[in-house]
Amino acid sequence: MSTHDCDTCVFHAELERMGVSTDRFDRVVALAGNPNTGKSTLFNSLTGLKQHTGNWPGKTVSRAEGGFEFNKVRYKIVDLPGTYSLLSASHDEQVARDFLLFGRPDVTIVVTDATSLERNLNLVLQVLEITDRVVVAVNLMDEARRKGITVDLRSLARDLGVPAVGIVARTGEGVRDLLAQVDALSSGEAVTAPLRIRGTGEFQRAVDELVPLIEAAAPGVPNARWIAIRLLDGDAEVETALASGRLAQLTAEQQQAAQGFSRKIALDGAQ
């Protein structure tokens, strides 16, 4: 099948480099989350037997990807390694971080455990630093109820600035709502305003100084702030991406895609 009938074709070269086959789907959804949050359960219930497993290219990190259809849109879903954080240098975290940054999924679902939100939100906040198209799936709502924990999803969504949906991945409860949010976000119907953490004064000053430099070095880069934070932290991968021009190239492609995307929506709307 040709890849010309999709919204995000220009990223496909990058996706293919990361070992994601780009046939037969319209949009890419990444699934992130802590270990033991039922991420795989959600993945299995979405894809059923339409999945295959393997390794990330060049890494001994397992990867699962599959497909599902919702509202006549075909989604490719990539299950990222379960991680507690995106800041460390373990292979799992590198893979997850690289995919979110360079693979540019249309939407990222972060699966969280309703019974230990605090720990899970640490990862959510880190994902929000990288991408703003995020839906938070609060899984294990049944277990939380059993343990006497009530989660106020509206408060959560308001604080995070992205949609939060309560689900029970094992029974499928709430999964349709989750997909509706994914649909709205990936089609551009819904817009998010993700929370970004402000650090200490000296840190903020350092970031503020770097952001314009990064924007000059890689014009139009959408999350210069995050790049600045990573550079301050000395992330070798991000340094390499910036030095080799991969970051600038990606950004240019992304702008083209955004234009092509809005044109396509305009055409679709006219029909």
């Binding site: 240098a89 373990s90 230990s116 939100l117 605090e118 720990r119 640490n122 932290d233 000395g234 070798a236």
Partner: protein, 334 residues
């Protein structure tokens, strides 16, 4: 025809051997120069001067080769002689900083990531420091999260070659009965360093000097007492302790009784590298509530409730977590 072939073959062997010998000599000379530069740098950093004698001791070489080496380094404009002593030239200092940076980053790597015993870290770094390019050192620094000190407490030069000034006072001149943090353990001479490490002192540990006489110096961390001859104690450098470890009412996590809720006040500096990052990622940060809830047959590891999850940690890592108990009423299971 055949003799010619034989001669050619023999010639090839001779050339190959000579080439190997020559490259080997060049490499060995480079290593020696780098070791000498490192020594000169260390001496200058601690406000001393290197001499022929100290060089001989460090390089384990007799007079002749050391003299030749120094002559070679002078020819390369790396050192200047001033009477009996030597100083680094700017170029010498630049090279020295590169080697020192490589050495200390490698020590950090061997201590934190490869988890070699502290007593073997120095030797392992010695073996690899000459083959680590500046580029590779930068990558290593990034992978390690840009550490600023090595496991002995020495600062790691930045890639621009900046080194903060030496800090710390030898334990022999530290005010008795005041608490200090160990910031540096001098690894030369190796014999005193081995003794210090064998006694169990580590960089980052908080100690007090409880006795200082001309024959011995006694340090304590509250539990154990460490006795040293003054010559050895002079190799332990102390600086004022940061607030969280000196504060009253705090204990280390392994000392917190089961089912007692506490608040984390900090991770101490001895916990570095991957271990520190992983602990922080799991939520072991200041202000987190923590409660030991399970212990195994051997008493180690214990499992703690923290941020709504249960995490098991070994004792030697829990040792680095400083907590303040919140209530003394034990909350039993039933």
């Amino acid at each position: 025809m055949r003799p010619l072939l034989l001669i050619l073959a023999a010639l090839a062997v001779v050339v190959a051997l000579a080439w190997r010998h020559w490259t080997h000599r060049v490499v060995r000379e480079r290593h020696r120069i780098e070791d000498a530069l490192k020594h000169l740098f260390d001496q200058e950093y601690r406000g001393r001067h290197a001499s022929l004698t100290s060089l001989k001791g460090t390089l384990h070489l007799p007079d002749g080769p050391v003299l030749a080496l120094v002559a070679r380094m002078q020819a390369l404009d790396l050192v200047r002689a001033r009477g009996q002593e030597f100083d680094l030239t700017p170029e010498g200092e630049r090279l020295a900083l590169q080697v020192v940076r490589a050495h200390r980053l490698l020590e950090r790597y061997f201590a934190d990531e490869a988890r070699l015993p502290l007593s073997q870290v120095h030797a392992a770094a010695e073996r690899h420091e000459h083959s680590l390019s500046a580029e590779a050192a930068n990558r290593l620094a990034a992978d390690l999260g840009h550490p600023t000190v090595d496991p002995h407490g020495d600062p790691i030069p930045s890639r621009e070659g900046d080194v903060p000034p030496a800090v710390g006072v030898p334990a022999t001149s530290w005010t008795p009965e005041t608490t200090g943090r160990i910031v540096h353990l001098e690894d030369e001479p190796p014999i005193s360093f081995a003794q210090i490490v064998a006694e169990g002192l580590r960089v980052g540990q908080t100690v007090r000097v409880i006795e200082r006489t001309p024959t011995r110096v006694v340090l304590t961390d509250g539990e154990n007492e460490y006795r040293f001859a003054p010559a050895v104690a002079a190799n332990v450098f102390l600086a004022p302790a940061p607030a969280h470890t000196a504060a009253a009412g705090v204990v280390r996590l392994p000392d917190l009784p089961d089912h007692v809720l506490a608040e984390i006040t900090g991770l101490d500096d001895r916990c570095q590298g991957f271990s520190r990052r992983r602990m922080m990622d799991l939520g072991f940060t200041d202000g987190a509530r923590i409660e030991p809830i399970l212990r195994t047959f051997a008493g180690d590891p214990r499992a703690y409730r923290i941020r709504g999850t249960v995490v098991a940690v070994r004792r030697d890592q829990a040792e680095h977590v400083i907590v303040r108990p919140l209530d003394t009423a034990t909350r039993g299971l039933a």
